[in-house]
């Protein structure tokens, strides 16, 4: 029994230590953003890496999610004679849930893994020690540009995913499933409110913070050579994805108080 408590205790302590370290990293990063000079060239490089190079992934994710969601909703709603309500359901769902969550998961896989691997490789090849020895703080040089670029790019990527998803849903519903376009649009515009978009973009910002700090923390704490880099990269993707999914529930509950769903 003692062994069981020890094992469970170790897991709990390790979890809270890990969370604490990520929070400290975030605090130091925000402090650096305010107090230290920002390297705008590195920030722009990261905007290209995170924002520009994620375009294809985000567009494909948004398009096919919107398309399949419109088709499935139509198959169910049409039985009840509510085919023209598909637009409203697709739009609100993509704005509030699917857009932010799926974009975050795709960005985690593409960008979070790359951040963790890049910083982790720098750690195990002493490049981070070299930075420190040259009087350059690794947080200022490595984390701040990535964090800022992520916080700027994610809401834009989510907005793009939402737009593409809604457009794809429209083309599937009107073009393939022959839903009445006028009613489709009218219902969509009536039920989709600005607060739905704000909620989606707010989630995007929160997910950006989660992904960037979890991934950078994994990179900065990498040990044991190539194996360590592989492990850190996998953990960055898994931990970020889980954090996004878990926090999404709490964000939905909290943001629904500020931005309640539905037509009012």
């Amino acid at each position: 029994m003692t062994r069981l408590f020890t094992a469970v205790g170790a897991v709990v302590v390790s979890f809270f230590t890990h969370v604490g370290e990520v929070v400290v990293l975030a605090a130091e990063t925000f402090s650096s953003i305010v107090m230290q000079k920002i390297r705008w060239r590195l920030f722009m490089n990261q905007i290209v890496e995170i924002g520009l190079r994620s375009q294809l992934v985000v567009v494909i994710t948004g398009a096919f999610t919107g398309a399949v969601f419109a088709a499935q909703t139509f198959f169910q709603f049409n039985k009840l004679g509510m085919g023209s309500a598909v637009g409203a359901v697709v739009s609100v769902s993509i704005c509030r849930e699917l857009g932010p969550v799926l974009t975050a998961l795709m960005v985690t896989g593409r960008v979070g893994a790359s951040m963790s691997a890049e910083i982790g490789t720098m750690k195990v090849t002493e490049q981070i020690d070299a930075l420190r020895s040259l009087a350059v703080h690794p947080i200022d040089y490595l984390v701040v540009p990535r964090a800022l670029a992520m916080m700027v790019s994610m809401p834009l990527l989510v907005a793009e995913c939402i737009g593409v998803g809604i457009a794809a849903g429209y083309f599937v519903a009107i073009g393939l499933l022959e839903v009445n376009g006028t009613y489709y649009m009218a219902n969509m515009v009536r039920w989709t409110q600005m607060r739905d978009i704000i909620m989606g973009l707010s989630k995007a910002f929160c997910f950006a913070v989660l992904i960037v700090f979890i991934s950078c923390h994994k990179g900065l704490t990498t040990r044991e050579g190539a194996v360590g880099v592989g492990k850190a990269t996998t953990e960055a993707v898994v931990d970020s994805s889980l954090a996004v999914l878990i926090c999404n529930f709490f964000l939905t509950m909290a943001l629904n108080i500020i931005f309640p769903a539905g037509y009012q």
Binding site: M122, A130, R132, L134
Partner: protein
């Protein structure tokens, strides 16, 4: 004595007997990694302008000691004084001030692999706020001349040999003229000719820029070539500290075994 004054007295830290001429002074430095005691009370003085070579067996804590000297590792106990300032307990940002005075050459060079040779060497200048491309190019060219790598500025680190990487790493660490340069195994893994060129380079830098140098190595040929003083780190302590002549005269069996490369009696 009142309680409060007693308390105040107990927290006041006095500078230990650090000679004025010392660039770096280490006092009773201890460090354990896991269950292994790496440093067990190192005491060492490095005088301004001298080249001190720290020798010792592989895994004996030489590189660990070197990393402590620039605050890249934190000791369990002890003090490190650099130009009269104790660096233990300083925050990462305050350590940056100290690190501007001390350059370090890492064992593998630790070049930034996403940058060219020129960008690597220019990195400290750009970080210090230098924006004039002409000034940067001039200083980089001067460094390339010093390390005898003219014309290699556009190469990526992946296309450099081990010796070239170390030279570029050295150029990067000295471009801002630190007062002291630390070398971690500068000749490890290099052929004798390249090793000799690195040794000559270290000597040349010392003569040209009058920097204090601390070189960690177990290459005795290199040690004898560049050292003003030699310290032998054994079992986490400085076992011997003296000149090359003192070392060669020593009849201590441990030192003799190390100098002659004898493994008999060593577990």
């Amino acid at each position: 004595m009142t309680g409060s004054s007693r308390q105040r007295q107990s927290v006041v830290r006095t500078e230990p007997s650090v000679p004025k001429s010392a660039m770096i002074a280490v006092r009773d430095l201890t460090k354990s990694i896991g269950t292994q005691e790496i440093l067990r009370g190192v005491d060492l003085d490095v005088l301004k302008g001298e080249t001190l070579v720290i020798i010792g067996r592989s895994g004996g804590g030489k590189s660990v000691l070197l990393k402590h000297l620039v605050g890249l590792m934190l000791p369990d106990a002890g003090e490190i004084w650099i130009e009269g300032q104790n660096i233990i307990g300083l925050s990462e940002r305050k350590l940056a001030e100290i690190r501007r005075k001390v350059g370090i050459l890492f064992q593998g060079g630790a070049l930034f692999d996403s940058m060219t040779v020129e960008e690597n060497i220019a990195f400290p200048l750009r970080e210090a706020g230098e924006r004039d491309p002409k000034v940067i190019r001039e200083q980089v060219n001067e460094m390339l001349d010093v390390i005898e790598l003219d014309g290699q500025q556009d190469k990526m680190p992946v296309n450099l040999s081990g010796g070239m990487k170390k030279r570029v790493g050295l150029a990067r660490s000295i471009i801002r003229r630190p007062h002291c340069v630390l070398y971690d195994e500068p000749t490890a893994g290099l052929d004798p000719v390249v090793s000799d060129s690195i040794n000559r380079l270290i000597r040349r830098l010392q003569e040209r820029y009058h920097v204090t140098s601390i070189v960690v190595t177990h290459d005795m040929k290199s040690a004898f070539h560049i050292a003003d003083h030699i310290a032998y780190l054994h079992e986490g302590r400085i076992y011997f500290h003296g000149t090359q002549a003192d070392l060669e005269r020593s009849t201590d069996p441990l030192i003799q075994d190390f100098l002659l490369g004898r493994s008999e009696g060593i577990p």
